[in-house]
């Protein structure tokens, strides 16, 4: 699948909606996943995750959550309706796909919050971080 294609976005939707499998759950304390399950339970916001391209344009993966389910994933040129808009450069996305730790990407501010209330965004931070990690695990071919 080509990165940031429609097919890829649909695969991402399936992956983030499914959440962690048993093997992944076993690597961290159950209370951590329990916290995420609770943060996610009624979640109904949307995230636009931007990829800034070398030509100066940014495209967005738009993920829409409803009652804890990821109900839509599209690739768009504008993040208009998203509650939270974040973006990263192509190298960061590349590193994410290569397995770079999502928490580290956030703490080094390689993925920046460009729009949205920072305090409410952080109230679900581990749900967000694990969802972005799941995006990184969806196989994708980077276009040139």
């Amino acid at each position: 699948m080509i990165f940031f294609s429609t097919d890829w976005a649909e695969a991402v939707r399936g992956a983030v909606d499914a959440g962690p499998d048993d093997a992944l759950r076993a690597t961290k304390l159950e209370t951590y996943w329990g916290w995420i399950d609770q943060a996610r339970a009624d979640y109904g916001e949307s995230w636009a995750l931007g990829r800034c391209k070398p030509d100066g344009h940014t495209d967005y993966l738009l993920l829409r959550w409803e009652r804890g389910h990821c109900v839509a994933a599209t690739v768009t040129a504008t993040p208009s309706e998203a509650t939270y808009v974040l973006s990263a450069d192509a190298q960061t996305w590349h590193d994410l796909l290569a397995g770079e730790d999502t928490g580290r990407i956030v703490m080094y501010r390689r993925l920046r919050l460009e729009r949205g209330e920072v305090l409410s965004f952080f109230r679900i931070i581990y749900f967000f971080v694990e969802s972005v990690a799941a995006i990184g695990r969806v196989p994708a071919t980077l276009d040139a």
Partner: protein, 317 residues
Amino acid sequence: MDQEVLAGVEKSDLAQIRDLDIDDVIDYVHADLKRLPDYLDLYRRYLRQRWDVYELDFSQDIRDWNTAMTQSERDAFVAISSGFHHGERQVEVELPVFMLGGSEESKIFMSSQIEDEARHTIFFDRFYREVVGLPGESVQEVLDASFHHVSETFVGPFGLLAYLADELRRDPEDPVSRVRYGTTYFLWIEGVLALSVMKITLTYCRNRGFLPGYYAGFTATCRDEARHVQFGMRFLRDSVAEDPRLLREIHETLRTILTINGATSRRIALESLGWSPEEVRRLMIRQLSMKLNDVGIALPPDLQQMVARIEPELAGG
């Protein structure tokens, strides 16, 4: 509080600091909270108390680490210290943006705190390189080598600080952004997380007679924290006095921090350092309550309940 003991904490040089008891240094953090020195007092104190991180001698620490400490003690110690190694770096790099705003006195004090945090980062860099034996040419490489010890939940408070720093960068004078940032940095990360880790690891070193270089450097770090926390509490108190609506921002920030605090991803064998999770929890609650009480920040009932449910969290900066 014994004035003579406090004067000893105040005046010790790096060679004398290893004889101080960590409890006295923590008392010293709180001794001035009701009065709260002004920013230039704190700056003068910085000039007197500044220490040279390259003067520390880790040779006994290396022997203790390799021959006296057990594997489970080393594991717990590294797990706890890594949150501090990365925490010091994070508070160092996120601080310059706060210095862009505020009074001239605040900016002058901030220049000293930035230097403190850089020195604390070097302290951990030296400890990990020389005692733990992590490889790395650069500061970043040693950070990378200890990163796998850092808990998944580190990104909660420290990622929040990074994102609040970004918010502040857009308008460094914005009182709301400054208070949110100050609550996260000075009250929670320094006032609660850092002081709790200091108490746990330094009590362990002192009781067992281990790691004298670490004890001296981290106790000196704790004394630096006294200035940072006193600055921070003065900043929060003055902010609310100037505009009482900012109290709401402190509460909203604490609500976020305490929501994040509910997640724990790894179990740390605290028992091997002589602590139970329940003791750590009580320690953190006490650290938070003392500061809020001393500067007169009251909490609404929902926040009081969240404070009572605080989970052990081990990082700092």
